[in-house]
Amino acid sequence: MLLNQFLLLSAILFTIGVYGVIVRKNGVLVLMSIELVLNAVNINLIVFSTYWGIAGQVFALFTIAIAAAEVGVGLAIVLLIYRNQRSVDIDELDEMKG
């Protein structure tokens, strides 16, 4: 197996996730796209852990835990936005525009 086949797959996933963050306007869908990005990073960590030692796996586990916490807090924020605005449309949150 080549090193690059995994790295390119994760690059493609990362790119699709970035596209989702730019294009989606529902808050929950933006969080799902962020999950794609985080998973792409995790694939990279595991690939390089086969090269340079077990630390990559430890960091991948840390990333998984932090991603779970991020989803929890992120969904709480989205819920709060919904409660205040009656919608989770990210594009309508423009109160800080002068």
Partner: protein, 193 residues
């Protein structure tokens, strides 16, 4: 003469461990890569928000399969438990609680599609150029696993736990603090009063 051949036959397999699972592993990789990319594109393009969560299951499961192909079993099991078990349920709860449109909806994307495609293609071009330029056709060696993974043991999981509870003990404990903070933060944010 005979004994020398016997000794060589006994020693050679120990010196060069045979890892000839490359062809089936590559077939599995190709199939799941195609499925994963298709599913990821569906996550960011589908017009049904529940379908997006379900396509995300396919992507996250494929990532777990990748970990198994890379012989990181513990991380793979954690991926299945945390992502497929917890995160997807959390997303479905989020969809439910924000009263998202449950059927097909045209109101999920903004009008920045062209910018998104431009940024995506440019990013992919830069990333793949850098990757191909720097890693070319170098093979995966699993060099880091040699010595920790004896036959019929879970040596690699042992090594991971050694690393977590040895060298990375303080970051690990900080992580539990972070999880507690996230828990309290989520409750404080979402509480109704």
């Amino acid at each position: 003469m005979n004994s020398a051949a016997l000794i060589i036959a006994e020693v050679v397999p120990l010196v060069t461990p045979e890892t000839t699972f490359d062809v089936p592993a590559n077939v599995v990789f190709a199939v799941q890569a195609v499925v994963m990319i298709f599913a990821a594109i569906r996550v960011v393009t589908t017009k049904n928000i529940v379908h997006a969560a379900l396509w995300l299951v396919v992507v996250l499961g494929g990532v777990g399969l990748n970990y198994i192909l890379l012989q990181a079993e513990f991380v793979a099991v954690t991926q299945f438990l945390v992502y497929l078990g917890a995160v997807i349920v959390l997303f479905l709860f989020g969809v439910m609680l924000t009263r998202a449109p449950l059927g097909v909806s045209d109101d999920l994307d903004n009008n920045q599609k062209k910018i998104g495609i431009g940024v995506g293609v440019a990013l992919l071009a830069v990333l793949s150029y850098a990757l191909i330029e720097s890693f070319g056709r170098s093979e995966l060696t699993f060099a880091a696993y040699e010595g920790v993974a004896g036959p019929n043991t879970n040596g690699r999981t042992q090594a991971v736990s050694d690393a977590i509870f040895g060298q990375y003990l303080i970051p690990f404990e900080m992580l539990s603090l972070l999880l507690l903070a996230a828990l309290i933060g989520a409750i404080v944010l979402a509480r109704r009063d």
